[in-house]
Amino acid sequence: MEINKDLVAASATPLVLAILSEGDSYGYAIIKRVGELSGGELAWTDGMLYPILHRLERNGYVKAIWGESETGRRRKYYQLTKAGAEHLERQRRQWHLVDLALRASGSSPSTRHRKKDDDSHAGG
């Protein structure tokens, strides 16, 4: 299933934060974990993760630490901060709400009304 580009972009931040809430990690491992969690359906362009991580770092949601890989290579690790954990919690609630609304919408036909430009928002 192809996931819409806007949705991929919007979900990137909570996903990265969620993965970091499992423990400190680094870019390549985060990408791999995203693949595992989504059963390979969510595929990012790998390079795009880094600007996102750096933005999270700037916002104070994660902390970056230079360390070493198993083979002794320089590697940048990321760690979730307290502010990041709180942000993740808020995001989770928001996504949950959207999910609930989407599920509910199918079952009660009375609430259905279409706006003309609904479809034009779908593109990337």
Partner: protein, 456 residues
């Protein structure tokens, strides 16, 4: 080459390619490289060979343009080139910093040197004799440090150092042994021309590390001089602000800092800034756009219009140029300015580029300047017998003729270039060959004019 080594080489190329992007710093490249290598390792374990693994990993990382575009969005401030806040230690080589220590040390040296005569009873704010002493020698307290800065930075050879030393000793002897008299024409001429003579020949020699035959290096010295001037003016503006606040805050507590400002801040600051400006230009030359060509680009059309309108006005009104006292000097300065506009546009021009509209504009500027100066010279020639040849007039006339030759031949070379196309190098070469002529002329005014005109 083993396939491992080939892989390393390709990763190296990839890394260097990424580093050319302004918004991506070397720490980011290191992070991406770790990702690339992890990906390659994983792919190879899955059975791909080095080549395949590299290609797939690079592809997954995303195209250089998209990734650096994302970085640029995240770090928009990185698109402003910053000189002082070196991004990552690896980006600013050790050259800048060690040059900085040297420059600051020499700037302090120049500031001390300018105060040194106080030990022998000369005061910067002293009487007429002291003022006269400083006026004659101020160049000699500062420029040797600048020459030394470049000589050290370029590791000048031993004979080069002698060539640097000799002009300064000669200048010191001329300025202090010859019987100059206060406020006489030859004295003032010598004081004005000495820095020009030393700058063009001696500082130039030091700047290009003694390779005085190298025309490309001479052009670099031209670029340096323009940037240095701009940086010096900017530093002076900052200094002015500092002084204004010094007065303001001390006046507020009822103290008058006049002596401190006049004796210390102004002379030491002005001397030290010569070195600091030079170091800044050296450091920033590859980091920040050169300003002189930008200013040139802005003002070339404006001056062209000004001169064309001026010529038109003369034709319409029939007014001749009134040869007053300052007219010749004024037209000299005009030609110097036109030469500057020409020189700095050449310095930034790609010598292989074909003729363009701005080339035609510059030719128009040259020709109108030549016409205007021709009119001025015509007016002067008609009344030269009335004036006689005083030192001032000879100096102004001599410089005018030198500039006229330079710009006249430049115009010819420009017309040839526009007519035939081909390479621009002839004009560049003419300008760089001509540079020492101005230096030699300045030395003539410093050293020979006093004798010829009997210290008038």
């Amino acid at each position: 080459m083993t396939s491992e080594a080939a892989l390393e080489q390709r990763i190296g190329e990839w890394r260097n390619y990424f580093r050319t992007r302004q918004a991506v710093h070397s720490a980011d490249v290191a992070e991406l490289e770790d990702h690339l290598r992890s990906q390659i390792d994983a792919l190879r374990q899955a059975g791909l060979d080095e080549d395949e693994a590299f290609l797939v990993a690079v592809k997954r990382l995303g195209s250089l343009d998209t990734v650096s575009h994302e970085f640029a969005r995240e770090y928009s401030e990185r698109l402003w080139k910053q000189l002082m806040v070196a991004p990552a230690a690896a980006d600013s080589g050790p050259a800048g910093r060690s040059g900085g220590v040297l420059a600051v040390a020499l700037a302090v040296g120049a500031a001390v040197a300018i105060k040194l005569p106080e030990l022998f009873g000369r005061s910067i704010m002293g009487g007429d004799t002291d003022a006269f002493f400083y006026a004659r020698n101020v160049t000699l307290f500062v420029l040797p440090f600048l020459a030394g800065f470049f000589a050290l930075k370029r590791s000048l050879h031993k004979t080069g150092w002698t060539w640097l030393l000799f002009p300064f000793i000669a200048a010191a002897l001329i300025m202090n042994v010859l019987p100059f008299k206060v406020d006489h024409q030859t004295t003032i001429l010598a004081i004005i021309h000495l820095p020009i003579a030393l700058w063009l020949l001696t500082i130039g020699f030091a700047y290009i590390g003694g390779e005085w035959r190298n025309h490309a290096q001479r052009m670099n010295f031209v670029r340096f001089s323009g940037e240095w001037f701009i940086y010096y003016v900017l530093t002076a503006l900052g200094g002015g602000t500092l002084i204004a606040f010094t007065f303001f805050i001390f006046n507020a507590i009822g103290l008058k800092p006049d002596d401190f400002v006049g004796q210390w801040i102004v002379p030491c600051g002005a001397a030290g800034a010569v070195l600091i400006a030079a170091w800044l230009v050296e450091w920033k030359k590859s980091v920040i756009e050169n300003m002189a060509p930008v200013l040139t680009m802005l003002f070339t059309p404006l001056f062209t219009v000004l001169l064309l309108v001026f010529v038109g006005t003369i034709i319409v009104t029939g007014n001749a140029i009134d040869v007053g006292r300052e007219v010749l000097i004024g037209f000299d300065l005009l030609l110097v300015l036109v030469l500057g506009l020409l020189l700095y546009s050449i310095s930034a021009r790609d010598s292989h580029a074909p003729p363009s509209r701005s080339d035609r504009l510059r030719l128009a500027l040259l020709l109108s300047a030549l016409v205007v100066d021709g009119l001025a010279l015509w007016a002067i020639a008609a009344r030269i017998s009335e004036f006689g040849f005083s030192a001032n007039k000879t100096a102004a006339l001599g410089l005018n003729i030198l500039l006229l030759i330079n710009l006249g031949w430049s115009a010819v070379l420009y017309m040839r270039f526009l007519a035939k196309g081909g390479s621009f190098t002839a004009l560049e070469r003419w300008q760089t060959s001509y540079l020492p002529v101005f230096g030699i002329w300045a030395w003539v005014v410093v050293a020979l004019f006093p004798v010829i005109f009997k210290y008038q």
